[in-house]
């Protein structure tokens, strides 16, 4: 039985006890999936699954009252967000049913767009998309083009260590049991550049920011919503003034508030309409958290987050000599 059918069967089994199940459905064109909210058996036909299921559906969990019974379909990376939300007691374990499946990875739509545009195709008018084996085939405006999947996977999938959901009530299909290496090489490469160049990089990137806060809204762990300190007047962390420094201040707030919490699902970066690589800031913090406290967020719901704890004698923090 294909995984999608197994998933539908699993959801159908649990649906009577749930208010809603969140999964992916067909989007506005063949190249996009969009979240669907399943409330009845009839809705199950809308469900799809594949390399286009890019959204992290765990983001929706905190938008419902804690008392609602919610089912959610998760990729490996999304399941870590669920674990983190559980750890912070933002959702109730007994009110959430997690559907896991072996995730082969998702594509980076920007990469797809660029690669097919290089072949002279219009990525905005895709009428058919198929992913078979290690090839991706698109039809657009009567023309068909094919590309190797290896060039299209999202960066986070190339270094993925959690293909199988780390937490699940229903798991369909065979676990992949695969693990890539992630030594934070991208962070190290960026930090090998001279300081002035790093600052100029953010200056250039942030100048494109339109302050839409899509990064915040897509983030499963940005749970303050309307109480976000980026929008309060007192204290006025980010002012109404235009300017790169104001835009960048928000990114520093986002990164600081996610230190020790970020599960690197990459939603901030994916949701960014102007393609600013903001996940890099969060990965930098995660790299340091891993080094200092040997901790990864979103693995164990019972773990104590390192920045909410301390040791009288820290093992790895070097008290500065003066």
């Amino acid at each position: 039985m294909p995984i999608l059918d197994e998933l539908k069967a699993a959801i159908a089994k649990r649906l009577p006890e749930l208010d809603v199940v969140i999964g992916w459905g067909k989007g506005f064109d063949a190249l996009h999936h969009t979240p669907v909210f399943i409330t009845s058996e009839a809705d199950l036909d809308k469900l799809v699954l594949g390399p286009l299921s890019v959204q992290n559906l765990a983001t929706y969990l905190t938008r419902y009252p804690k008392t609602k019974k919610i089912g959610v379909v998760v990729k490996g990376c999304d399941s870590r967000s669920v674990v983190q939300l559980l750890q912070e007691k933002l959702i109730n374990r007994e009110n959430v049913v997690v559907f896991g499946f072996p995730c082969e990875g998702v594509v980076d739509l920007e990469k797809v767009k660029r690669a097919f545009e290089d072949q002279g195709m219009e990525a905005a008018r895709v009428s058919e998309a198929s992913f078979q084996g290690d090839r991706c085939t698109l039809t657009s405006g009567g023309k068909a083009g094919s590309l190797p999947m290896a060039d299209l996977w999202a960066d986070k999938c190339n270094r993925c260590q959690y293909h199988d959901a780390v937490i699940s009530d229903e798991f369909v299909g065979q676990r992949l049991e695969r693990k890539a290496e992630d030594a934070y090489a991208d962070v190290a490469a960026f930090e090998a550049k001279p300081l002035a160049e790093r600052q100029a990089f953010w200056q250039e990137q942030m100048s494109r920011c339109i302050r839409c806060y899509a990064c915040r809204n897509a983030c499963p762990l940005c749970v303050c919503r309307d109480q976000c300190i980026a929008q309060t007047r007192e204290p006025n962390w980010v002012s109404q003034r235009t300017g790169v420094e104001e835009k960048f201040m928000f990114q520093m707030i986002h990164a600081s508030h996610l230190a020790g919490r970020c599960t690197e699902c990459g939603e901030c970066e994916r949701a960014c309409p102007v393609g600013i690589p903001i996940l890099l800031l969060k990965r930098k913090n995660n790299k340091e958290i891993l080094e200092l406290f040997d901790y990864r967020a979103g693995i164990d719901p019972e773990a104590k987050p390192p920045l909410l704890a301390f040791k009288v004698e820290e093992e790895k923090i070097n008290e500065r000599g003066w």
Binding site: Q199, M249, L281, L307, A309
Partner: protein, 150 residues
Amino acid sequence: MSKELRIIGFLCNWCSYGGADTAGVGRFTQPTDLRIVRLPCSGRIDPLFVLKTLTGGADGVLVSGCHPRDCHYSEGNFYARRRLEMVKRFLPVIGIDPGRFEYTWVSASEGQRWQTVVRGFTEQVHALGPIQRFGKDAAAMAAQLAASHA
């Protein structure tokens, strides 16, 4: 020493602020680049204070609190230590020299030590020079970089 720079100090009320006072009463000469903000505890310090201050134009930030195990509130500085270490390590990725930020512990009786800390840190910041402000003179900076690559 060259032209005065702007250094902001976040000091805890119970130890370091008292230590700075002791240094003043003892008439230990110190450089005058440092402006002090008094806080109830080093645990009060939000890492964003440091980031906002540095991107807002300060050339350096110094945080000082009670020695570990000496916190007036028992454990404020233990939490602070982890957070401040994280900020210190975060600075390089946004293109700010980590030497512009230091955190240390000075008790109320250590006037002499306060003088050493202020002197040392001021010297360190002067060696780095005035900060390149984020969002200011972007065009000039880009041109300078382009020239250095050519």
